[in-house]
């Protein structure tokens, strides 16, 4: 809510504080006040009055209830003079509400008796109140808000202020002018009585009535307030009633009445009527009638009807009987005719809410389009129509009505009108009786349908009375006869068959069903009228639910909900299955309906157990039919109901459910199976073909991207041997020929060679380990030179060598980012500041509690130590090990060292096959190198698995030990959990990293990808390493060509550098919007990539432009090659290195304008020869 100036003035500082306090979850002051009020320690006006009221409290407990009226009568005069609060005299100010300590609650019957005694003394005032209430309700329904306020003012004048009037006023303001105005009124209450119970009630009612506040949300919030503040039971019951109207148990009414006895006359009266409505419709207490009878003088029809339910028949005839013309029209199926009559009836009496209900039913049958509602009544009418019609927005209609009921609960007519849906499909007999009772009592007229909730004698009397009144009208006779008996020939009239069935259903619902239900429901289920049929389903479901025939219940639910989705929220699925364990109900797993019903349950009740039951039942279903996956259901389709198969496959068989299927053992299996399912569904469910196609496309892309990222991960260790081979052809052809010629002539002196070989030495130099041989023989010297040169290229070529790829794909950013990721995600790591010192971890320092400055200092140091040590593991243990071993890089684990035996074998091979070409020779050499590299990779994997992992173990363990020494357990629970979680994630990340160190030449991989996929994969892979960098990336591509894996790797290297460049140099930390445009130009066979990113205003400067020029110059003259040898440095030079392996390439970059930087790259590519697009058909073939 935004407060404008005029509203702000209504919010005094204390309310602001209170609101702020509520937001901070501290205890608002009113709760302290509340507790003291209800503990009886609240200040009272006179010193002795406390003890007097205590005496009255004792009298209430010891006297018999018969003696109450006399006692009250006898003391009334004294109370009026000395203790007006006991007479519920007129209160002028809000702060006077609930000033009196509450009486100790008595049992319900005695509490009713005491309340009746007090109310009897105030009959003249209550008469006035009743008349004004009628006027208020009529004005409200006519939307005459001025008239409504006038009536409310008069009520306050006559009866004094009350919680009831506060609530009614908030509701009126809300309807009249919306949130701002009602909030302003709440401000007035608060100003008048700051910190009071009235202010609290006003605040809570106002919150409840806000449009954004849902009924369930408010109830939940209130319950958590009650629990949080540990309020006693009586007060909790009272607050529930006061703020929501919820009364869990009729016995709770005793507490409510006891509280209202110290509130106001109006509040007591309305609580009294609510109590008696519940009591009289459920289990009338003996002697109650004698207490009520005098109160009927008030003229309130509610009390007359309550008296009737308690046995008083004399006054019922005084009430107005409803006109039967609309009923006649409806029952004969003339819904249009009925609409007109009902509209007139409502116009003449807005309080006639049953006419509105009938009108909604007619509109439902006519399927009228009522348009956008403009008034309260139109909204209610539209919602009721939605319910009768089983419209798809059924639950929304229900929620809207519940919200209106809650907001306007102080108005009995609205309360009943909007409460009507609660009984429509309820199956709790006891609750039904209460709801029917409430409808009967609050209805300003008398209606033939009221008979359903009456007892035997009452029915008879009522029927006789009605017959007299309606002069034996056939419609009245017909209705009552149908309601009295459900036998087929009970109705002699020409009611339409559908209407007869609906009345019978209505009767069964109201009476909580009986054995005739089956006969009626079977007839209803075969009706052509959809509404009748669905009513029949509801009725049958409740019947089955009660008779505990679970299998039949599940079959019914599955059958009908898969045809009429709205029934999912109407049938009592949660009531039947919600609180039972799967094991206990032992459903039939071979039936499709079991899984479907559990899915329906999950849609009603979202909890982990329901989800587990659904997943297991799905697995068991497949198992019982020996199906390894759901898509195979198609093979036995004829065994099942087709709509249910469709629902099962489309709604139930989603990845989160399929996870539990024992034959689907990997994430990829799930996704592939879902594609199969969607393909199957395209044949079963034509209406949603497009949706399934879209799902297939999304999943296929995801699978493809995942496969691509995996491919990239496995191609991080790479040597471009093709490139080296091309280089060797250019550079080593001549020398190789000479070596071969010499070796061939020296054949046969193996003994001498062996001797030479024995003298081979390995000498470490700056350029790496070099095999050194005494040049006894020229041929051997040349051979060893050749091998040495090729080894150097294999390991160190800046364009093709292992070190170049290790640097680009692993050491540079990727490994640090990936290893830091898990700890970074949980905010355990900080970075260095400009001085090189690690920054304090403010995130976690603000999340440890009740610490002394010394403790904070220690924790700060521990976390800084942790960040530093963590990075040290990466920088000192991990990265140095991932180097080519040399004198300078002695920790490097990549050696690729040929020994004497290898050289001898190469020499012999060359001698034995003098016709060998250089390519064949390099192939042999590379085989040896690959073999040796694989051994090195094993060493790396072992090192990471053993040494690095144990370093991280030690690090996390020490962090936990240090924290444990500095803090008490309860001070850092979250931090401790985060550290444990991070360690598990680090271990898993290490597993993934270890997997990088396999030699898999992906250039030969057969996968192919669309250009867009290539882009997504490359970005996905880069983002996994660039932790903390969260750009928004838009990809534009119109090319539909398919690329091989080599393009993917190349583009991935390029995009990683480009994105890292943005992350480091753009100066934009918050989600920079990067556009990546990628196009293939078939004319020059080039793939063009453009990356444009925003830059901060300070980035473009004379200095930065000079720097760019320097980079461009280094690229032009080739000096960049020296600079990209080491990690760090300019990304732009690295890009040049990446693209320069293609003689025909393009690279351009610079500032597009003051706000954007661009990179333009072009590389020649070869399109994939064999386009392999994962199509559903292929996957089916593969999986089957």
């Amino acid at each position: 809510m935004t407060l404008n100036k005029s509203t702000k003035k209504y919010y005094p500082s204390t309310l602001k504080n209170f609101l702020r306090g509520a937001r901070q979850q501290s205890e608002p002051s009113y709760f302290k006040n509340l507790r003291s009020y209800f503990a009886g320690s609240a200040p009272v006006s006179k010193p002795n009055s406390g003890s007097y009221i205590k005496a009255i409290d004792v009298a209430r407990q010891v006297l018999t209830e018969d003696a109450f009226p006399t006692f009250i009568d006898k003391h009334w005069g004294y109370w009026r003079k000395k203790h007006p609060q006991l007479t519920l005299g007129k209160l002028e100010h809000y702060h006077q509400l609930r000033k009196t300590p509450t009486f100790t609650p008595l049992c319900l019957e005695r509490e009713i008796a005491w309340s009746a005694g007090v109310l009897q003394k105030r009959i003249p005032t209550l008469k006035r109140f009743h008349s004004l209430l009628q006027s208020l309700q009529e004005n409200l329904l006519k939307e005459d808000y001025a008239g409504g306020h006038q009536a409310l003012d008069q009520i306050d004048d006559v009866c004094g202020v009350s919680f009831w009037s506060i609530e009614a006023r908030i509701a009126l303001f809300q309807l009249q002018s919306g949130l701002e105005r009602h909030k302003a009124y709440v401000g007035v209450v608060y100003e008048g009585a700051p910190g009071s119970f009235a202010a609290y009630i006003a605040y809570m009612v106002s919150r409840r009535n806000e449009e954004a506040s849902s009924t369930t949300g408010f109830l939940k919030d209130l319950e958590s307030q009650i629990a949080e503040h540990d309020l006693d039971n009586d007060l909790a019951k009272y607050l529930r009633y006061r703020l929501t109207g919820v009364i869990h148990n009729v016995e709770d009414c005793a507490s409510i009445l006891a509280h209202e006895l110290s509130t106001s006359l109006v509040d007591l009266y309305e609580a009294f009527i609510t109590t008696l409505t519940l009591v009289s419709s459920r289990n009338p207490l003996p002697n109650l009638l004698n207490l009520i009878r005098p109160l009927t003088k008030i003229g309130d029809e509610r009390l007359i009807k309550i008296a009737f339910l308690l046995g008083e028949t004399a006054q019922l005839n005084d009430l107005a009987w409803r006109d039967l013309a609309p009923y006649k029209a409806i029952l004969q199926g003339d819904y249009s005719g009925c609409v007109q009559v009902l509209e007139q009836a409502i116009d003449s009496n807005q309080r006639d809410f049953k006419s509105l209900i009938l009108l909604a039913r007619c509109h439902a049958q006519l399927e009228s389009n009522l348009g956008e509602p403009l008034t309260l009544l139109e909204t209610v009418l539209g919602c009721l129509q939605g319910l009768f019609q089983f419209r798809s927005d059924y639950t929304n209609c229900l929620a809207t009505l519940a919200k209106i009921k809650m907001n306007l609960r102080v108005f009995p007519v609205i309360n009943s009108l909007c409460g009507f849906p609660s009984q429509m499909h309820g199956h709790d007999l006891q609750k039904n009786r209460e709801l029917w009772g409430e409808l009967f009592v609050n209805d300003p007229k008398t209606d033939p349908f009221d008979i359903v909730m009456m007892s035997g004698d009452q029915k008879q009397f009522y029927q006789e009375l009605g017959s007299q009144h309606y002069n034996s009208n056939a419609t009245f006779e017909g209705i009552t006869s149908l309601l009295n008996s459900s036998s087929e020939d009970a109705n002699p009239l020409s009611f339409s068959e559908d209407e007869k069935l609906l009345i019978e259903a209505f009767s069964l619902q109201a009476s909580g069903m009986d054995s005739d239900a089956t006969v009626v429901t079977d007839k209803m289920l075969s009706s052509h009228n959809r509404l009748v049929k669905l009513e029949g389903v509801c009725l049958k479901a409740r019947s089955l639910a009660k008779s505990a025939t679970l299998k039949a219940f599940m079959d019914l639910c599955a059958f009908w909900c898969t045809r009429e989705d709205v029934l999912t929220y109407i049938l009592p699925i949660a009531e039947v299955l919600g609180n039972r364990s799967l094991k206990a109900i032992k459903p039939d797993y071979s039936s499709l309906s079991t899984s479907i019903t559990f899915h329906l349950l999950l849609r009603n009740k979202d909890d982990n157990k329901a989800q587990d039951y659904l997943r297991w039942s799905c697995d068991e279903f497949l198992e019982s039919h020996k199906l390894t996956r759901p898509s195979k259901l198609l093979q036995i389709l004829e065994q099942f109901d087709r709509p249910q198969v469709g629902y099962f496959l489309s709604e139930v068989c989603k990845p989160q459910i399929l996870e539990a299927c024992r034959h689907l053992r990997k994430t990829k299996d799930l996704e592939e199976e879902r594609i199969n399912i969607c393909t199957t569904l395209m044949e079963l469910d034509f209406d949603h073909v497009e949706a399934y196609q879209q799902e297939i496309m999304t999943l296929s892309t995801k699978l493809s991207v995942d496969a691509g990222i995996q491919l990239l991960d496995r191609s991080r260790v790479f040597v471009n041997t093709s490139g080296i081979r091309r280089w060797a052809t250019r550079e080593l052809g001549e020398i190789f020929a000479r070596c071969k010629a010499l070796l061939t002539t020296q054949k046969g002196i193996a003994a001498q060679v062996e001797k030479i070989i024995q003298k081979l030495l390995t000498v470490s130099t700056d350029k790496g380990n070099i095999l050194y041989i005494n040049p006894y023989e020229e041929a051997d010297k040349i051979l060893l030179d050749l091998i040495q040169t090729l080894r150097h290229q294999f390991l160190n070529s800046p364009d093709y060598g292992l070190d170049s790829f290790l640097s680009m794909r692993i050491r540079h950013g990727t490994i640090a980012g990936t290893l830091r990721g898990p700890a970074d995600d949980l905010k355990l790591l900080t970075t260095r500041d400009a001085s090189g010192k690690y920054q304090a971890n403010e995130y976690w320092l603000s999340r440890i509690y009740n610490t002394s400055p010394e403790q904070r200092k220690k924790v700060k140091d521990h976390l800084m130590w942790f960040s530093e040590s963590y990075d040290s593991v990466i920088e000192l243990l991990v990265k140095p090990s991932l180097q080519i071993r040399s004198e300078k890089k002695s920790k490097g684990l990549f050696k690729v060292e040929l020994d004497e035996k290898h050289i001898l074998q190469i020499r012999t091979a060359l001698q034995d096959k003098p016709e060998s070409t250089l390519d064949e020779f390099t192939d042999v050499i590379f085989d040896y190198f690959h073999h040796l590299l694989n051994a090195d990779l094993q060493t790396v994997r072992d090192y990471l698995e053993r040494d690095v992992k144990s370093s991280f173990e030690g690090l996390f363990k020490e962090l936990q030990e240090r924290l444990a020494q500095s803090l008490r357990q309860e001070q850092y629970v979250d931090l401790k959990d985060a550290s444990a979680e991070a360690f598990t994630r680090v271990q898993n990340t290490l597993l993934r990293i270890i997997d990088w160190f396999h030699l898999e030449n992906s250039l030969s991989a057969t996968q192919s990808f669309s250009i867009e996929e290539v882009c997504r994969i490359a970005i996905g892979s880069a983002m996994r390493a660039l932790v903390g960098f969260e750009p928004e990336i838009q990809i534009y591509s119109h090319s539909e060509q398919t690329m091989g894996a080599s393009v993917l790797e190349e583009l991935s290297d390029i995009l990683f550098v480009a994105l890292e460049n943005v992350s480091r140099h753009s100066g934009i930390s918050e989600k920079p919007l990067i556009t990546v445009t990628i196009e293939y130009n078939s004319e020059d066979s080039m793939l063009y990539l453009d990356v444009v990113n925003p830059i901060a205003s300070y980035v473009k400067s004379a200095a930065s432009e000079r720097k760019l020029e320097t980079i461009k110059a280094a690229i032009r003259d080739g000096s960049y090659k020296e600079q990209v040898q080491s990690e760090g440095g300019s990304g732009l030079m690295k890009l040049q290195r990446n693209v320069s392996s293609h003689p025909r390439h393009k690279l351009d970059f610079g500032f597009l304008d003051d706000q954007h930087f661009y990179i333009h790259i072009g590389i020649p590519i070869t399109l994939a020869q064999h386009i392999v697009i994962p199509t559903p058909a292929k996957i089916i073939e593969k999986t089957s």
């Binding site: 364990s581 799967l582 094991k583 982990n608 157990k609 587990d612 297991w616 989160q656 996870e659 539990a660 024992r662 053992r665 990997k666 994430t667 990829k668 799930l670 995996q710 992992k949 173990e953 996390f956 363990k957 020490e958 936990q960 030990e961 924290l963 444990a964 357990q969 629970v973 979250d974 401790k976 959990d977 444990a980 979680e981 360690f983 598990t984 271990q987 898993n988 597993l991 993934r992 997997d995």
Partner: protein, 150 residues
């Protein structure tokens, strides 16, 4: 004694295995590293006692499998499954978290223990807090195991 240990954290499972092997020489420990492999093990064999981690991945994480949906209450799901299979096997939950949050709701280790005891009275025996920086979990676990043997 045949034990099933469902644990995805390599360090923790190593510690637990070491500890269990010191208690009894004739102990056969079968490992599972996810909810799916835990369920598979339960379907295949009968165990004398089961140790469960609470937060588990859906599938065993390996070079080709990222683990599926992480399950904050994966251990609880497995307990439900044990109950569903009608096994009477005692289950001990060993977790290194003191608080569990699904975003909407949060539960601490004690409340979780109470909930599990109430939901699965036939199987759930105890919840033990594992802290790598302390040896207390060993004492706690030993006590639980002794009670189970009695």
């Amino acid at each position: 004694m045949k034990i099933l240990l469902v644990e995805d954290d390599g360090f923790k499972s190593g510690q637990l295995k070491d500890f269990l092997s010191t208690l009894r020489s004739a102990t056969e420990i079968q490992m599972a590293r996810s909810v799916a492999s835990g369920k598979e093990a339960l379907r295949q064999s009968y165990f004398d006692v089961i140790f469960l981690d609470m937060s588990l991945p859906s599938y065993d994480i390996d070079r080709y499998e990222p683990g599926g949906t992480p399950k904050i209450f994966g251990g609880s799901e497995l307990l439900g499954y044990i109950d569903f299979l009608d096994y009477a096997t005692p289950v001990v939950v060993i977790t290194q978290f003191e608080r569990f949050s699904t975003g909407e709701e949060e539960v601490n280790i004690h409340s979780l223990g109470k909930n599990l005891a109430s939901d699965y009275p036939n199987n759930f025996k105890a919840i033990v807090y594992f802290n790598a920086a302390s040896e207390k979990w060993k004492t706690d676990l030993k006590k639980v195991l002794l009670e189970l043997m009695v």
